[in-house]
């Protein structure tokens, strides 16, 4: 690491773009990702702590979260909105208490490791990001993740999504209850009477880091609207088996094994969403204990 590292503490967003335009200056929020990833190329840190970016707001139409909000703050807010809110499930199970107090939303999106417990749910919620710097304005999260150009020289200031009362399952596949997930699956839908609409399925940790499983959304989603739950469950199992899932070998597991496990978890998630099975949460060899933690 560079010991002559400079710190900058802007108080206004207008101060951010010229700082980020300088060589080697990167944003700092919680710092956990920076420390894990190494800072050999970093010459300066732009601390966002005085920019007032930690707010969490929700009204009837929109949810908005400041980039500086911590996992713990967002998990608590989401649990207050609904005990089974997907972000309460996912961020409540991420890392451990002191790390959840420190990991921020903005930093977690910017770095997006394969074990992220945040990005999958936000993709399923079709979140947008507000950027300041080389690129300014609102961009879909999926667009931000698809290339490097939006990420370089830009600071994430806020995340938002339209509140659609989507409910569903979050499953993280781990070896032990304190482990990071090898992959995670989000399945969300809007319940209308006995039918489910607007099905959204996201797999994180696959080859290419993440994929929205459109083939599953289409096959299962259409079936859910016209058949009884039991039949939809059978169709969901079939769709999960046929899902186009490619996984890299990781954490001592073969790609084939992880792809098989991802299909199993996908089927269970869909079944749980239909009310046929138990709740979601942690899964894999380390399953069963994380939910209580």
């Amino acid at each position: 690491m560079a010991t002559d590292l400079q710190w900058f503490f802007p108080r206004e967003l207008e101060e951010v773009p010229p700082l980020l335009a300088r060589d080697g200056i990167v944003p700092h929020a919680g710092g956990t990702g920076l420390l894990r990833g190494g800072m050999s190329q970093v010459r300066g840190l732009l601390d966002i702590g005085r920019l007032g970016l930690a707010g969490i707001r929700k009204d009837a139409a929109l949810v908005s979260i400041g980039a500086g909000a911590s996992y713990a703050e967002v998990a608590a807010a989401a649990a207050a909105w609904h005990p089974r809110h997907v972000l309460a499930q996912s961020l409540g199970a991420a890392a451990a208490t002191p790390l959840r107090n420190r990991i921020t939303i903005g930093g977690s999106i910017a770095l997006f490791p394969y074990w992220s417990d945040l990005v999958g749910p936000l993709l399923a919620l079709e979140a947008e990001l507000h950027l300041v710097g080389a690129h300014s304005g609102w961009v879909p999260l999926a667009e931000y993740l698809s290339g490097r150009e939006l990420r370089q020289g830009s600071l994430i200031t806020e995340v938002r999504w339209r509140e659609a009362e989507l409910r569903g399952e979050y499953r993280r596949w781990t070896r032990t209850h304190t482990d990071r997930p090898a992959f995670s699956i989000v399945v969300l839908a809007r319940r209308s009477g006995k039918t489910l609409r607007d099905l959204r399925v996201v797999l994180v940790g696959c080859s290419g880091r993440y994929r929205r499983l459109a083939e599953v959304e289409e096959a299962v989603g259409q079936a859910m609207e016209r058949v009884p739950a039991a039949a939809a469950h059978a169709l969901a199992a079939e769709a999960a088996a046929k899902a186009e899932i490619e996984m890299p070998a990781r954490m001592g597991f073969s790609a084939e094994y992880l792809a098989h496990c991802a299909r199993v978890e996908l089927e269970r998630s869909l079944a749980a969403l239909l009310g046929d099975a138990g709740g979601g949460g942690a899964s894999g060899p380390g399953s069963g204990r994380t939910r209580g933690r």
């Binding site: 690491m1 700092h28 956990t32 451990a96 208490t97 002191p98 790390l99 107090n101």
Partner: protein, 156 residues
């Protein structure tokens, strides 16, 4: 670089490299109760309260702490006048080698400040960032429950 801290209620101005983590800065300044364990945020030995929030000091760049309040385990009680949580850890036999104890005490403190009547699952969750290889978790859980009762009695 130089930064101002309020450590255990005392104003301190400390000098350190720009890439230093809070753990090293605190230990260099003599706060040896903040233990160095894994340096990965996994063991909880280096826990401190940052503006009252429990964090791994090995995962906090010290430069970001300028002007903020840091509390170590010495900040909540002393050997002569221990905090009820510290006394409960001793009484319950939750201290063996002691290396993890400062972090466990602070994790319990953060929990009981926010939630004076925690349920079992809430205690387990609050301590999920701490590793203890001597006692396991049974005595520690007993200590937290005992501390909760003592604190309730004190406030009654």
């Amino acid at each position: 670089m130089e930064a101002r801290f309020r450590i255990n209620g005392q104003e301190r101005t400390l000098s350190f490299p720009g890439d230093a983590v809070l753990l090293d800065v605190l230990r260099e300044a003599g706060y040896l109760e903040v233990k160095e364990g894994c340096r990965e945020g996994a063991c909880g030995s280096c826990l401190v309260l940052l503006d009252g929030v429990l964090v791994n000091s090995c995962q906090v760049l010290a430069g970001s702490v300028d002007g903020r309040a840091v509390t170590t385990v010495r900040g909540i009680g002393t050997f002569q006048v221990p905090h009820p949580i510290q006394a409960a850890f001793v009484e319950a036999g939750a201290v063996h080698c002691g290396f993890c104890t400062p972090g466990l005490v602070l994790a319990a403190y953060a929990l009981l400040e926010a939630n004076p009547h925690p349920e079992e699952a809430e205690i387990t969750r609050a301590l999920d960032g701490n590793l203890c290889r001597c006692t396991g978790s049974v005595k520690v859980m007993e200590a937290v429950r005992l501390a909760a009762r003592r604190l309730e009695d004190r406030h009654a």
